[in-house]
C-alpha cells in the first residue's frame, strides 16, 4: 500500500486532510487586508489659512512642510484616496472595512468627520480650487465644504477624541461604493467642524513611519 493510500485510508488521516483543506480554503476565500496611507495614490492637505497650498500640514514662521506633523484644526482638510479597486481582487464582496487614525496630541475634544469627496480634484488642489491645472476650477464652497457637490452630505465616520491614541470607525459602505463602482473613488475628506487641535504624524512621510499610523482594514470574500 502506498504512503498516500495509507494516510487517506485511515480515519485520522482523512480528518487531517479535511481540516487542513478547510483551514487553507477559508484563508483563501475570506480575507482581511490592512493597508496604510503609504498605499494612497493621492493625498492633499488644504487650509483656509494658506488658500493656495496643496500641502498645508501646518507650520509656522512662514514655512510649511508636508513631512513630520499634521496640525489639524477647523481650518484644515485632509484628502486621502486609497486605490481600492487595485487592492481588492475582482469578484469580491466587502464584508467589513475599518478606518483607524491616531492623534498623538489633542487640545479639547476634537471631533474629526470623514466624508466621501464627490468632486474631481487634481493638480494644484487647494482651499480655493479643486484643481489649477489644466485650468482653475473652484470648489462649490471653499475648502471642499459644499455638501452633495464637493463632498457627500453626510459623514461616513466620526472620530471623537477624548484621549490620544488609535480610534477606529466603520467605513464599510464607502469601500463597497468605491469597490463596486457605484460611486467614483475620489477619496475621503477629513474635517473638523468645531475648532480644537489634534496633532497626527503626517500621512505623507516618505522618510519616516507616519503614514503607517493611518490604517484601513478591509475584509472581503468571494461573491
Amino acid at each position: 500500500m502506498s504512503l498516500r493510500t495509507q494516510v487517506i485510508s485511515t480515519f485520522y488521516g482523512r480528518l487531517s486532510c479535511v481540516f487542513m483543506s478547510l483551514v487553507f480554503a477559508s484563508t483563501v476565500s475570506a480575507r482581511t487586508i490592512t493597508i496604510t496611507a503609504e498605499s494612497c495614490d493621492e493625498m492633499a492637505c488644504i487650509s483656509a489659512l494658506v488658500p493656495r497650498l496643496s500641502w498645508a500640514m501646518g507650520g509656522d514662521n512662514k514655512i510649511n512642510n508636508a513631512h513630520g506633523t499634521l496640525y489639524f484644526n477647523s481650518n484644515t482638510a485632509l484628502f486621502l484616496r486609497f486605490p481600492i479597486k487595485d487592492l481588492i481582487p475582482k469578484g469580491q464582496r466587502i464584508t467589513k472595512a475599518e478606518l483607524t487614525i491616531a492623534p498623538n496630541y489633542i487640545a479639547g475634544i476634537p471631533e474629526i468627520n470623514v466624508r466621501r469627496l464627490l468632486a474631481e480634484w487634481g493638480s494644484g488642489v487647494c482651499y480655493q480650487y479643486r484643481m489649477t491645472y489644466p485650468q482653475k476650477i473652484e470648489w462649490s464652497q471653499p475648502g471642499a465644504r459644499g455638501n452633495s457637490s464637493d463632498r457627500a452630505n453626510k459623514n461616513s465616520a466620526t472620530f471623537k477624541f477624548s484621549k490620544v491614541g488609535e480610534q477606529t470607525a466603520d467605513v464599510t459602505e464607502d469601500i463597497e461604493l468605491w469597490y463596486t463602482g457605484a460611486s467614483p473613488n475620489r477619496g475621503w475628506i477629513f474635517t473638523m467642524d468645531i475648532n480644537n487641535w489634534a496633532y497626527f504624524l503626517s500621512p505623507y512621510s516618505p522618510q519616516s513611519g507616519g503614514s503607517k499610523t493611518w490604517k484601513l482594514q478591509i475584509s472581503f470574500e468571494p461573491l
Binding site: F24, A25, S54, W55, H67, T132
Partner: protein
C-alpha cells in the same frame, strides 16, 4: 497505547516535505498561502517598478568632452555651452563651447580659471552652479573651495573668508573677462558638493545657494538678488555709472555686506538639514516670483513675495544630492537622488510654484543614478544621468513615464553635467576625454 500514537508515529517520521506535496489538498493550500504572502507584501509599498533597461542609441544626445564635468548650462540666445569642472580637473574651472548653427559644440573650448585668494593656493576651488543671463552676454558662476566646513566651524585658513563664491563673467569679450566676484564671508558656507544658481526668464533676479545664519552655522538658507539693467546684483540702490557701481559693490563685498536682500525663512531642522550638497542643491525659476529648489530632504518651493507662506517643503524618499527637472508645459517635476547607488526617480508636481499632489516613485533596477534628469519636451522624453550611461524614457501625453527604459553609454563614471537646449532640441552631456 493511545489511539492516535499509531498515526503520529508514522506521519512526522515517514513523510518528507516533498512527499507532502503529492497530496493535492496540501499542495493547493501551500501554493495559495505563498501566493497570498507575495501579494500582501507588495501592498505595503506601492511603487512602479520599471523593467531592466535595454541598450539604445539616441541621436539627440551630444557628448561633450570635458574632464570631471559637474554641471552644465546652455544659452540658446548666445549660442554657448558652459561646463563646470570639479576639483579633479586643474586646467580650468569652466569650459565654454561655442555652438554652431546646428547646435554642435566647437571641438575646442575656451577655458576659464576663476579667482581665489593667494592664501588658499593649497586648496582647490571648483564649480557648483552656472547660469547664463537670458538677454545680456553674462555668465554667472557659483564656485566653492575645499576648506572643511562643519558646525561649529573649525578654524579656517587665511583667505577663506575672502573667497568669493559668485563670479560674473562678460562673454562679450574674447576671451571672457571677469567683471566682478562677490559673496564672501561667514554668511556663505564652503566645501559643499552642490549649490544651484539660477536667473529667472526675465533676468530680474539671481538666485544663490549656500548661505547660513550668522549666529548659527547649522542653519542654512538661500536667497536672491535683484539684477540691474547691466545684470549686476543690486545690494544698494544706485543710478551711478557701471564702473562706480561695480566699485561700490566690491567695497561692500570686502566689508561682508552683500547679503542677498531676500532670503528664505529659517527652517534648519526640517528643510535645510546639514548635508554635503549645500542649502539648495538645485534652483529652477517657475514664473516670475517663484522657484522650485531641492535640499537634502526633497523639494522646496520658495515664493519670496508670498506674505503668508513663502517656503514650502515636500520630502522625497531619496536622500543625497536631490536634483530635478521641471517640465515646461506640464506640472511634472522629475526628481533624482544622485548618490551613484540610487535606483529610483520620482515624479512630483507643481503648478505656479506650488508643490502639489503625491509624488510617485519609479524604480529603475540597476539604475545607479549620478546626475540630474533633463526633459526633452519636443521628443517627449526624460533623460537621467547615470554611471557610464544615460537612461532614457518616453513620456506620455500627461508627462508620465511610459514604455521600457533604454540606456545609452557615455564615457563618464558619473553623468552630472547634463543640459537641454530647446532651440536645438538637443541634450549635452559632459564626458571624459577618450584615451
Amino acid at each position: 497505547m493511545p489511539l492516535y500514537t499509531r498515526h503520529s508515529s508514522y506521519l512526522p517520521d515517514k513523510i518528507k516535505l516533498t512527499q507532502l506535496l503529492t497530496f493535492p489538498a496540501i499542495r493547493f493550500a501551500l501554493i495559495s498561502f505563498f501566493t497570498f504572502i507575495c501579494i500582501a507584501s507588495s501592498w505595503a509599498q506601492p511603487q512602479i517598478t520599471l523593467p531592466l533597461s535595454k541598450p539604445g542609441i539616441c541621436n539627440y544626445i551630444t557628448p561633450v568632452m570635458a574632464s570631471n564635468a559637474t554641471v552644465a548650462a546652455v544659452s540658446d540666445v548666445h549660442g554657448l555651452l558652459a561646463i563646470g569642472h570639479g576639483v579633479a580637473f586643474s586646467e580650468a574651472h569652466v569650459s565654454l563651447f561655442k555652438l554652431d548653427a546646428k547646435g554642435i559644440p566647437a571641438p575646442i573650448a575656451t577655458q576659464i580659471l576663476l579667482p581665489k585668494p593667494m592664501e588658499l593656493t593649497k586648496h582647490k576651488n571648483y564649480v557648483l552652479g552656472l547660469a547664463f543671463h537670458p538677454k545680456l552676454p553674462l555668465l554667472y558662476v557659483w564656485q566653492d573651495i575645499n576648506v572643511p566646513y562643519t558646525n561649529p566651524v573649525p578654524p579656517v585658513p587665511l583667505g577663506t573668508l575672502q573667497f568669493d563664491h559668485l563670479c560674473i563673467l562678460n562673454l562679450a569679450k574674447d576671451p571672457p573677462q571677469l567683471i566682478t566676484s562677490i559673496c564672501r564671508g561667514v554668511e556663505f558656507i564652503h566645501n559643499q558638493g552642490g549649490g544651484g544658481l539660477a536667473i529667472d526668464a526675465l533676468g530680474s533676479h539671481l538666485y544663490v545657494p549656500n548661505l547660513r545664519e550668522i549666529t548659527n552655522a547649522g542653519s542654512w538658507r538661500f536667497g536672491r538678488y535683484p539684477l540691474d539693467a547691466e545684470g549686476l546684483p543690486v545690494v544698494v540702490e544706485s543710478k551711478e555709472p557701471l564702473g562706480i557701481r561695480i566699485k561700490k559693490l566690491e567695497d561692500l563685498n570686502a566689508a561682508n555686506k552683500v547679503s542677498p536682500p531676500q532670503l528664505t525663512p529659517i527652517a534648519y531642522i526640517d528643510l535645510f538639514r546639514q548635508n554635503f550638497y549645500g542649502s539648495a542643491h538645485m534652483i529652477v525659476p517657475v514664473g516670475k516670483d517663484a522657484v522650485i529648489s531641492s535640499g537634502n530632504m526633497g523639494l522646496m518651493a520658495w515664493r519670496p513675495d508670498d506674505k503668508i507662506m513663502p517656503l514650502q517643503g515636500v520630502p522625497m524618499k531619496q536622500a543625497g544630492q536631490v536634483l530635478f527637472a521641471v517640465h515646461p508645459s506640464h506640472p511634472a517635476i522629475f526628481v533624482t537622488s544622485c548618490n551613484g547607488t540610487s535606483e529610483s526617480f520620482s515624479r512630483a508636481e507643481q503648478v505656479e510654484g506650488f508643490l502639489t499632489l503625491l509624488p510617485k516613485q519609479y524604480i529603475l533596477p540597476m539604475g545607479k543614478l549620478t546626475g540630474p534628469p533633463i526633459i526633452l519636451p519636443k521628443q517627449k522624453k526624460i533623460v537621467l544621468g547615470g554611471a557610464y550611461h544615460l537612461l532614457v524614457m518616453d513620456l506620455d501625453e500627461k508627462a508620465y513615464p511610459t514604455g521600457d527604459p533604454t540606456h545609452v553609454y557615455v564615457n563618464t563614471p558619473a553623468a552630472k553635467a547634463l543640459v537641454y537646449s530647446e532651440k536645438f532640441d538637443r541634450a549635452y552631456v559632459g564626458t571624459e576625454i577618450s584615451k
